[in-house]
């Protein structure tokens, strides 16, 4: 049975599907989150070096990973929308950006709160944190550009070009910041050179990462439903929707 994936490429058929997926992903996120937090707080031992403050890792690293993953997935959807001219892919990119930006903010916030007890300063221009900050600028640039352009079709295409240019630059920015950091401060200071990871710590972090991943998908799917309703408000099928 060949699944006609293009059937789901039309907003009209994707809208109900997304509606069914959102609760599933969020439920998965809650379950995984509960397990991850339990491991993080009740199974993982105290770290001999950092004491208890390292437990921030269970949300800092997942948020940082997600901020990077979401940007790449966003750029992929945007590129797809640009090449195949499928409106839904571009809507998916637009829907992912805010969640990605929030993940970046969380990575920065938790990084600062973890840095304070570890280095004594809220912000230490560590290579990873600085790249995270620049990634936040890239998200803001993408959202600002799409917000400034009224015509949705042009906003999608312009956003796609920016996201593709951005995704090429993300590794370049990361390595140039890493070079810049080692040049000025030497390699001693690195936040996420995680302490020797007991397997419970690692397990907790991985499960939390999956929880964040499931949450992000759910959030993006719900936001894409709103984007679909806004963009297709004049379409017939939107009008017949029961006010659910």
């Amino acid at each position: 049975m060949a699944v006609n994936w293009f059937k789901y490429a039309s907003p009209q058929t994707f809208y109900p599907l997304a509606g069914r997926l959102v609760p599933l992903f969020w439920l998965l996120a809650i379950v995984l989150g509960a397990i991850g937090l339990y491991i993080g707080f009740f199974v993982a031992p105290t770290d001999f070096q950092q004491g208890e403050s390292y437990r921030i890792i269970f949300i800092h690293v997942p948020a940082a990973w997600m901020s990077m993953v979401i940007y790449v997935v966003m750029a992929a959807w945007a590129g797809l929308g640009l090449v195949l001219n499928t409106r839904l892919s571009s809507m998916m990119a637009t829907a992912l950006a805010p969640t990605g930006a929030l993940m970046t903010f969380l990575a920065l916030w938790t990084g600062a709160l973890w840095g304070k007890p570890t280095w004594g300063t809220w912000w230490a221009w560590d290579a990873r944190m600085t790249s995270e900050l620049i990634l936040l600028f890239l998200y803001i640039g993408f959202m600002a550009l799409q917000a400034a352009i009224d015509d949705p079709r042009r906003a999608d295409k312009a956003g796609a070009i920016l996201a593709l240019v951005g995704v090429v630059n993300v590794p370049i920015i990361y390595f140039s910041v890493k070079w810049w950091n080692t040049l000025h401060q030497g390699a001693s200071v690195s936040l996420t050179r995680a302490p020797s990871m007991a397997n419970a710590m690692l397990l907790g972090m991985l499960i939390m990462a999956l929880a964040f991943w499931a949450y992000s998908i759910g959030a993006a799917l719900l936001r894409v439903r709103s984007v679909i309703l806004e963009r297709e408000r004049h379409a017939g099928w939107v009008r017949e929707l029961p006010p659910g």
Binding site: D151, P152, R233, H234
Partner: protein, 206 residues
Amino acid sequence: MLEITDLACRRGERLLFRGLSFSVGAGELLWIEGRNGAGKTSLLRILCGLGVADAGEIRWRGRPVRRGDETFARERLFLGHANALKDDLTVAENLHFAARIAGSDGTLDAVDRVLEACGLAAVRGSPVRHLSQGQRRRAALGRLWLAQAQPLWILDEPFSALDTDSVDRLSALLGAHLERGGAAVLTTHQEVALPAGRTRRLRLDA
């Protein structure tokens, strides 16, 4: 020469036209009529390759036209509402540049001949900024005299802001273009100026 099948275009939420099919043969002029906002300009911009149609296909000499298609670009001329002139450059410099970009003969005496034909020889060296609206439009139309080698002319309101003898000059030029086997698609409000016998109409109703 130019065949359009099932063209559709949506501006934001509004569907401008759908299922539009027509063709323009050698020596033919297609006059696009319709109220303001009926999508005339959008249609012309799609034909020339600036705009993107929501559906449908454009074929030139039997081959479908892709955006950025250089052979089609070599054979088509587009004149929009905007005069496409740099205010700080002189009339001669503007035309010289337009010719070089379009790949047609940009030598100085060619430009002079065009200025003569447009009746702009006197203002040859003055910046476009100092020209009147009518003179600017004639300078913009100078591009047509340069474009003898381009068989397809797509013109958006070419007769607007022209005085009577410029209108006659332009319609004579259009007639000559059609005689040479060229094709043209244009929008205009002055009916009188179009070469009789070779003009077909296409009504775009909103």
